[in-house]
Symmetry: C4
Subunit: 227 residues, 4 copies
């Protein structure tokens, strides 16, 4: 199997995690992956049901978001994915969903506060909000990059829109999409009855450093399976 | 396969989307589709489990809601579907559910405010509330038509009852039913903690116009798969 | 197949609806059915996983709740089911769950107000709360019967405990268990943001009468599939 | 099958209950079981998907948490499990999740009040909160043991982290993990609209004693299937 075929297969397969964790309805979410060693990425076609996402259905774009290979139009979010790949060379995967709880925070333009050990582990602090941006030019991609460039968080809540996540590879970006919804839900629920207890910056740093480094030494980090 | 058989098969198949997205319990929801070129529509029979919805089980009605073909009584909501087909000729599909979050807004007779890009894309503004109407005559159908006739929204929240959605075809109406529940849930949750940030009318118009037109040019809009 | 075997098969099968609609966790819910023409009923055995509920695993009790046939102990709620069958001869099925939203109302000892057409159709008014009762004697059964004897509702929320439902047959009781959770959830959510709009007694009566009678004339009512 | 192989098979199998009841996302939860008659326990490996949890994938540790058998690193929570087995000899199983509602209470460091008969039955009173503890030494294990040693509850909500549960065997600990999430959710929802009605200490004691003893006499208690 060529590298490109392997990436197609991985991207097709990873979309199943979006439905498994109820992060998407209808066709409203997408995963992409950079093709190693090429100026290309693989992304979901637009308007195709998650039941029909075979490796062959995936499309290939260049880093300006132009369709290079495939019979369907690429996802309508392709420009945002492409912008991220152009500006963040360490990123190997991007995911976008409208998952319910994360989007509920995004509609209020409110960061998710770091009040759980799992948030400290995975996001290293509060999960930030990005700007309001209309689709159709580079606004969304620029908002993602400007928010995440200097953040520990692999997730950004785009205002009134929904979460985008990044990772060293597509699997890590999918993991971040799963985790951001999970903690968005838990903190939402917790705050419904009263304010959660804050964690200190020192504790957050200790948890984040241990989580990223201990697991990193085991060479598992790129798989995103570090819990 | 005749046109009528194709419509039966499509309507049977589309009911699976209602259960997949948890829009219905027991037998409490239904999909119908106009038969192209005929004064007929296909609808779910009354009181049949979603496990047993084969194409053959579907029933055919004329536009007054009279049973034309089939061995079971048509859905108890048939009169409402028929009224819509008689008065809105561009409508090819109608869906009714009691999906939880949309019905929760309906019980308060409160429109869902357009505070998400997805709402602007799909509904073009707030999702409106229809009048309170008893079953048994044309009241429900009239309420749907009067509310949606001059609206961009393909969904109406009938007071103390639940959502009805329309579309150019049945698949588009099902998509609207899925989407109205999804945004009803997200905005509900967002408002539990504080008021979501409003979007400007200009931004809503820009999103709606782009979404409807760009995708329309790709001739995908009738499939409802435009995200 | 003997009548008794048919009832065993039906009771086994109906437990799948409890898991399908997420009304139960672990082994915490049960269905029973009166055996037509006998002073017997069939009920789930105690402490058996819903994965293992074959017809053969069901147990048979007399109307005092004594085990008549079967190798496992009957459900720990058997005394309550037996009391209902002894005192309400028109009842052919009983269901008990701790479904989440219905139990949340029960913990506040608060009736579910009739603010949805679906509640008027199925329950004919508010869904009542029963007394607080300890397990171990006839208290629970008595509380169910005293609450439901003069009510249109087939469901009672036992205080700090959970819902019990009754029906002309077991399928109708299961339907009521599904519906009480569905409307408990919808009204709960609706009230989180503001008070739902009340319906008039006249409208509730009109909906209830039509629903029970129109469908009754179609001889469908005993199946519980009247929506 | 050797005892050790049987324990491996049971631990592998029990992880399916965590996904069935939506207690875990990605790889974020684990079950362990003490090996009868040995100073060993079996636990989930770190960072392995729940789809791949075969008996062979399970790893074996001694009671200091050192890996004794297996090709993968043990769960990152192994030290906490080991501490529990060293200090509570009657414990045969330990489970850790970040289940949503239980974790929401943990983020507020608030015990779950005993306002349901199910809580009285299973937990014998309020479900307690443990201290805030960083991963990396014995802090978490010590917090679990100090909180549960003198409690009737088999579950503790570790502050800002999530629930840990214990049982006479692994199945009982899994049951407690399922039940703590179920009651955390129900009480959470109930309190959203108003304060649930309290139960008296005498009623709680009566329910707990009956539940533990009646079922205990039937020798079912170790299976955890006592509802």
């Amino acid at each position: 199997m060529s590298t490109l075929d392997a990436v197609r297969a991985e991207v097709a397969e990873l979309h199943r995690e979006l439905t498994r964790y109820d992060l998407v309805v209808w066709t409203a979410g997408n995963v992409s992956a950079r093709v190693p060693g090429e100026e290309l990425f693989v992304i979901k076609p637009s308007g195709v049901s998650y039941d029909e996402l075979s490796p062959e259905a995936m499309v290939v774009c260049d880093l300006d978001g132009n369709l290079v290979e495939g019979t369907r139009a690429p996802s309508s979010d392709t420009a945002a994915h492409a912008y991220v790949y152009r500006h963040l060379p360490e990123v190997g995967g991007v995911v976008h969903t409208h998952s319910t709880y994360a989007t509920a925070w995004a509609a209020r333009r409110e960061p998710i506060p770091c009040v759980l050990t799992m948030i400290a582990d995975e996001f290293g602090g509060d999960i930030p909000v990005g700007p309001f941006a209309l689709i159709g030019d580079d606004s969304i991609g620029r908002g993602i990059v400007e928010t995440l460039r200097d953040s520990r968080s692999p997730a950004v809540l785009m205002a009134n829109h929904g979460p985008f996540t990044i990772g060293r590879d597509a699997r890590a970006a999918v993991k971040a999409a799963v985790m951001v919804e999970d903690v968005a839900r838990t903190v939402h629920l917790s705050r419904q009855l009263a304010e959660p207890v804050a964690m200190s910056s020192a504790d957050i740093d200790a948890l984040y450093d241990r989580y990223q480094n201990v697991y990193g030494q085991q060479a598992l980090a790129t798989s995103g399976d570090t819990l």
